[in-house]
């Protein structure tokens, strides 16, 4: 896309993109650190994730203000309009993902006092890595205007859903085996659910990138694999 006749307009838009990338970087970091803090039972790291969330929230506010300013002063149209609408949605999703990471960190500080539940830490960490990779690709797709990569991310969400399904069943089994596992498993389950929701939000972001690039929201349904809403007692 050619540059604007008003170069200040280009600088405004670039500045907002930079803020999104900065926010995205912080959120990726929060996801990985939250998962690591759980795996390593590292309370300090968990505390750091909780503290860093403030910076993420502040960036969201800043992005919203910048976007409002561009709308007021430049009356963006067409692709410029889509890019402003997109940053507003991306920043909102990133902020939510940051909150989920913070929530994982909070639960980590509780879990350190409990026995690890057989292998679930590493499963959660794999899930978090997968989501972080999806987020990274979404941000790359955003910066490069790459709808194909965004579509790829969109399709990958179902892997995260499947990991979540497996963990859900596992936690259920542990809790039935020994009621003393329930507290830990409840926390771990919420962590898994948090990561699964991060995947959904990342998928929304990828869809927003597709809208930015093509002007249209993807229409075909993506595979939905979170089946836990229909789980009954195992027989």
């Amino acid at each position: 896309m050619n540059e604007h006749i008003s170069s200040a307009y280009d600088r405004d838009l670039e500045a907002i993109t930079t803020l999104i990338m900065k926010m995205g970087g912080l959120v990726e970091d929060a996801i990985l650190k939250a998962a690591k803090s759980l795996a390593d039972r590292d309370v300090e790291l968990a505390e750091e994730v909780r503290a860093n969330d403030k910076a993420i929230d502040a960036l969201e506010v800043q992005i919203n203000e910048e976007a409002a300013r561009v709308i007021a002063l430049r009356a963006p149209v067409s692709k410029d309009l889509r890019s402003i609408l997109t940053v507003l949605r991306l920043s909102a999703s990133l902020e939510r993902i940051g909150d989920y990471a913070k929530n994982i960190a909070k639960r980590t500080s509780v879990l350190v006092g409990m026995n690890p539940v057989n292998g679930s830490d590493s499963a959660l960490r794999r899930m978090a890595r997968e989501v972080e990779q999806m987020l990274k690709d979404t941000l790359d797709a955003y910066v490069r205007g790459d709808a194909t990569l965004a579509e790829d991310v969109r399709q990958r969400d179902h892997e995260v859903d499947q990991m979540y399904n497996a963990l859900f069943r596992e936690f259920l089994t542990f809790m039935m085996e020994d009621p003393r596992n329930i507290t830990a498993c409840m926390h771990l389950h919420f962590m898994a659910k948090n990561i699964e929701r991060m995947g959904d939000l990342t998928t929304n972001m990828a869809e927003q990138v597709i809208y930015l690039v093509t002007g249209e929201m993807p229409e075909e349904a993506r595979p939905k694999s979170d089946k836990t809403a229909f789980v009954t007692n195992p027989s």
């Binding site: 050619n2 604007h4 006749i5 008003s6 067409s78 692709k79």
Partner: protein
């Protein structure tokens, strides 16, 4: 409720074709100013022509009521029909045509006469009123439609040129609609007006849409976006893109349209 609103909007833009242009070429001597323009302009719709200076949008607009006839070196080819009638047919009287296809210009240009006479002039020469009472009625109706009646009713005998710029432009609109036209052409009608007067004229354009097919040439992207339902983008004499206004301003097909409306180097 939302659905009804959208259905209503969709209905209001799906109108009969009022003006149809087919392979229109315009030459000013050797200069090929309009190249192969095909367009269908709907009735009871505001259609905006946008494009950089010299792109041919005003030239094309002027073809629609044969204003280009007055320019000796100008040659128009192709077909332009209004309600299926060829307006370049030798049988068509351009004066009658211009009563049917009214025009408002960039600079308000009231006649150096009273407000009343400005509006009454057209109906008088076209014999649209049989007596003074009828003429009074036409003048009042036109001024009301142009949202000028309340400001002008107590000073109908005052000169039209004594009005403010925005009022003068509304007077010109009243004058244009006094001959009961079917199409209203507007060539940058707000470029000499302040934002308040502009908003009043835009509000008026939206009301006129109930009765007329309005075609407006504008340099203001925002104005095109605000008042029109259809937008045509002209570039170097070509009609590059013609579509629903919201499509043009959210997701245009052609990169030249995109560059122009978003203020990019094309």
């Amino acid at each position: 409720m939302e659905d009804m609103y959208h259905a209503d909007r969709a209905m209001s833009t799906q109108q009969d074709i009022k003006i149809k242009a087919d392979k229109v070429q315009v030459y000013y001597a050797d200069n090929h100013a309009i190249k192969d323009v095909d367009v269908e302009i709907a009735d009871k719709t505001v259609t905006a022509f946008i494009g950089p200076s010299g792109c041919g949008k005003s030239t094309f607009l002027r073809c629609l009521n044969r204003m280009n006839d007055t320019i000796d070196i100008c040659r128009v080819e192709g077909d332009i029909t209004i309600d299926g009638e060829d307006i370049y047919d030798p049988k068509v009287d351009p004066v009658q045509l211009r009563a049917k296809v009214g025009m408002v210009f960039q600079k308000p240009n009231p006649f150096p006469k009273s407000i009343y006479d400005n509006v009454a002039y057209g109906p008088k020469i076209h014999g649209l009123a049989r007596n003074k009472a009828e003429l009074d009625e036409i003048v009042e109706k036109s001024l009301r439609k142009a949202a000028l009646w309340n400001e002008a009713k107590d000073r109908l005998t005052a000169p039209g040129t004594g009005l403010s710029g925005g009022q003068q432009q509304r007077l010109c609109i009243a004058r244009a609609i006094a001959t009961a036209p079917e199409v209203l052409l507007m060539d940058e009608p707000c470029s000499a007006l302040d934002p308040i007067a502009t908003a009043q004229v835009e509000e008026l354009i939206d009301e006129l849409r109930q009765s007329y097919s309005v075609v407006i040439v504008t340099h203001s992207m925002q104005q095109a976006a605000r008042v029109s339902q259809k937008t045509a983008f002209f570039h170097l004499g070509n009609l590059v893109e013609y579509d629903d206004t919201d499509k043009i301003f959210t997701n245009p097909e052609d990169s030249r349209t995109e560059s122009y409306i978003s203020g990019r180097i094309g």
